[in-house]
Symmetry: D2
Subunit: 352 residues, 4 copies
């Protein structure tokens, strides 16, 4: 079968690869739509994980079940499904404490299995299918579902870390696709005022549609000053960091605008060597400001709840999709869009 394979640093192309064999708990899924992500670009540019080399890239995909292993309980060929964007190990004891996702050893990037590849391929093996895939309800389109495993799931995992209470004032640093879903998630968790920080007019407009009440262009002045000017000097209850730039700058801004006792959740990946923060922004260590990185929650149970929000018209993530491509041949173009600095690109998808 055909797959878009990572060969090494800066080198990825289509190639002919083997259809993976199935274990008793696995499913083979025929891919029907994929999305490209900045992470894919980073994977190609930096090739940071040796185990990913020689395998198809891609982690945002939906498809149709082609066949299932003998012990799969709940799926049958023909089912429309979301593929997992992460590779949680649901059979590790830590899963019993909610930590399955920290053992992503069956994810293509980390797996030692040469046949465990990404979603940029005609067929994908879903390990532990009953636990890792989610059925797409009839009322939810492929396009909607395709935004769930990474864009919605990452943002909403981050929003959960913000511990929003009714009427909270929150800030979202960065309004790329994950930031935009962070805005939608914060609105769904009962935030009142949602202040977003960005610069691209298109995404700021979209942020308003997803629930932002205040929009700040970071090119107009220091973020901290602008946020505090808006609130009359009152720090915000929580912050979602979903921005580019440097970790040092973004985290510092977050610590400076969040209240004592507030929460900062970071959903961005920063590939710098170090992060440096001023101690006064941390009150020299002597104040609660709860900070954490965020790893996307995966799994059928979570995906099912997110899909239900779409099915019940609480959320429509298709506002993120700015570019639509048709057929595997156009995948490289969709990747190029993610590489470009084109301010009109939020999320390209490829229907195959």
């Amino acid at each position: 079968m055909r797959g878009y394979v990572l060969h090494g640093r800066g080198d990825a192309s289509f190639g002919e690869i083997q259809v993976p064999p199935l274990g008793p708990y696995d499913a083979l899924v025929r891919t029907t739509a994929v999305a490209t992500c900045t992470t894919d670009v980073h994977m190609i540019n930096a090739a940071p994980y040796p185990n990913a080399i020689g395998k198809p890239l891609g982690h945002e995909g939906v498809g149709v079940v082609e066949k299932v292993g003998d012990l799969v309980r709940d799926f049958t060929p023909g089912d429309r499904v979301i593929l997992s964007a992460g590779g949680a190990d649901w059979r590790i004891p830590q899963a019993q404490r909610g930590e399955a996702k920290y053992y992503p050893n069956n994810m293509p990037y980390f797996s030692e299995d040469p046949l465990q590849g990404g979603v940029f391929a005609e067929y994908v093996r879903a390990l532990d299918a009953d636990m890792s895939m989610a059925p797409i309800p009839d009322g939810v389109s492929d396009e909607q579902a395709l935004m769930v495993p990474d864009m919605v799931a990452t943002a909403f995992t981050g929003v959960e870390r913000m511990q929003i209470e009714f009427g909270d004032i929150v800030a979202v640093l960065g309004v790329g696709p994950v930031g935009l879903m962070g805005v939608a998630g914060a609105a769904l968790k009962g935030a009142s005022r949602i202040i977003v920080i960005g610069s691209r007019p298109k995404t700021l407009d979209l942020a308003r549609r997803y629930g932002a009440t205040d929009v700040i262009d970071y090119k107009q002045g220091p973020v901290v000053d602008q946020v505090l000017a808006l609130t009359g000097g009152v720090p915000v209850d929580s912050v979602l960091v979903a921005s580019g730039g440097s970790a040092s700058d973004q985290f510092t801004a977050a610590f400076r605008i969040v209240k004592p006792g507030g929460h900062i959740a970071n959903v961005s990946l920063y590939y710098e060597d170090t992060v440096t923060l001023p101690m006064d922004a941390l009150s020299y260590g002597g104040i609660e400001k709860f900070f954490t990185g965020v790893f996307v929650q995966t799994g059928r149970e979570f995906y099912t709840r997110l899909l239900r929000l779409i099915e019940q018209n609480r959320l429509d993530p298709t506002g993120l999709i700015t570019h639509r491509f048709d057929g595997w041949d156009e995948l490289p173009e969709a990747l190029d869009l993610m590489r470009s600095r084109n301010p009109d690109v939020i999320k390209p998808i490829v229907t195959v």
Copy 2:
């Protein structure tokens, strides 16, 4: 000044009462609008609290600050404010653990102070004004604000007890005004499917406007059967009990439709002697089903967040207001409406 005073069981009327004196932390507020509540009717019918006799009734009110005590920090005459619907003691050590509201000894119903009366009076003394009252933002109307201290606050306190996660399926038993705000609150906390149980067409329509996705008429069959028929037999994640009827029936239904590990929050008052539940609905004691009653959260901090939801257009509680009266003379009529079984009555208010 004039006040609508409880004289004894079944006996309440307007009378001339003393304007209360102010302590250093108190404010005197000129009432501008009040709402009548089923609790007021119960207070008149049953007169259950000796300390309430001889004092004005009423606990839902907004007004304008007339004067303030010497040590009041943040209010000045002319400020529009919400009056507290409960009488939390913010100066008791338990307040430091979030339990202030369980010491409502400065509430008219419980207070031994003969001058500590309800809001059905021309002037109301707000004890501990900085802590108990909330300023009404310019963008929020008196009518909107008037729904906050009991209707929104009670319902949203109940919704917090439901511990809703993204995409949860919830049920709301009863769609009086608190149930309706429960629907709105559940939607704001990220529930996907919100199943409401009622029978009055007007309130069921309004429930849909506030976010209900499914509506069940309990006159059409057993509630448990109808809910499980809707969900394909899957129990719901949490239940808000906001219904009339008997506690035994309502709690039993709640235990039967909620999942193991799910939450039941009851915001209704049931003036029966006992409640009887079948042990099988509780799995003979051997399963987690988290049950609690709910006491309305009060206080400036909470009210301020709720008002901000209105200010930012996340919530408009005025859909509850079905009847508007003008002037104190019409208060008895507004109370009569609460006594009536008129299915078109949700919430009457009186502007004064």
Copy 3:
């Protein structure tokens, strides 16, 4: 092989049964010690679950791995292990939300598989061995480990539901073996004053050893009065219900002694048809008192943490063991002890 089989109501005896075959994730464990439980007695007397008939009884056992299925990762023959006291389904999506234990369809009582039996047998099949069994550390004896899967695990699950904060005052109603471990668990969670209610001198003495600071004999007067007399009228922060008697009496006492905002966790099974509570103890529905039943948490991750408490000398549950038997032939005698009302019996075990 030999097993102590439930034949029907009131009818259980040793019989010859088939050694169960293994699936790829399963392990066969040779039983080395078991404990008898009041639940076993109830199972024999009432035979409430049709699927249990014809299978060995028993749910508290430890053993040595005899063989493992092809896909078992972490166990090998010879390993000393705890067998699961419950039959959580770790391969159901709800497990991803911490609800695996509510799907105990592989427990002998509920399983439709005629070969899925209890631990009163020479060999036991552990389904999903990597997830359901826990290895016993070298520093932990079989006797200590045998108390973990039900006695310690049930009590500690209940204690978690009490949400104890540093210095809390708690009450434990009932000091059978689970109540005693509840005392130990409450001490380990930072309770200061631990008030236990019982009547048997032996268990009350043991309660003190496990951390009880105050001991009440319910035969000396009403429990509520005695508790409040001890505390000077201050309600307790949380209650563990681990008593016999009637659910109505025990739950009512719990509601009457717990503070508003406090937690009640019930770990007892009450085989009555109904429970009746006075509405005033629930403040007519209008106060937070958080009530829940408790289902024992199982799983390798939890068992491992409990075993570690024993290994590090934080806990020694062998104080519960009052009677020791040797060999399968003495199992009926150990069951008879649980049937007896002998006040000196806490927990009998049988080494085989």
Copy 4:
């Protein structure tokens, strides 16, 4: 009256100061014992807060009530009390959300009131006495109580942030007096293995007495390596940072030894300009590791619970006290001990 006053950078001495007048909620307390703290030394050396200049230093003290304001409810002259180590504002709306301590504007260091001084004085005014002071039970000595407002309270606030579950493995970096109380607190919260990192033999011995199971001398090799060697490479569940050294080193070690999903709570103050962390220890931002600083919880409710742990013999903090002085004249000597690098000093106290 006499007080030990901060005059400016590096300059503090006894002087005659005014006995503060009382407001209606205040109490005047005659100091009976105080402790010296590294923070006092820092206050003298750096004089970082202008409002502290001209006032008595000191924040750890106990005393006897001398007189009370007109509106004080629960204290009378002669009561033995703990004085607050922080100056939470219990009359600010944020207090209703548990954030009172973040508004310490009535603490000597921050207060603009020239008569609001520290505890190194013959008399201390306790603002909002009912909320800020705690009565010392008969069974608790002054020495025990003196360790509560900062040493125990700071450590236990930190331990609460660790979110310890039964049987967790935790690490405590640094075993000064707060670290030692962190060990005791972690044991009281159900940790199994408690690994402490220090170097002074005396404190490491004491750490074992307070519950440490493993002791690492950081002079024997890199902390991260030593911890992971002890655990067989398994990261710990949570970390309390209570060490000296540099924030960059300590936080980096904490991030490297804590598991994904684990908690890091820092109770130390680091007076550096910046902290620098390697991004790989934070997984480039893409993993949950929950980090927070810690501000000591104050208030009568919390102090009361901590005192109850001592009263019930769950905790005895007097192990911290290494040096005892008698009379105000010896206070400078007690401060000198905190300045010294004497490895035998943990906590000096002065009885007056």
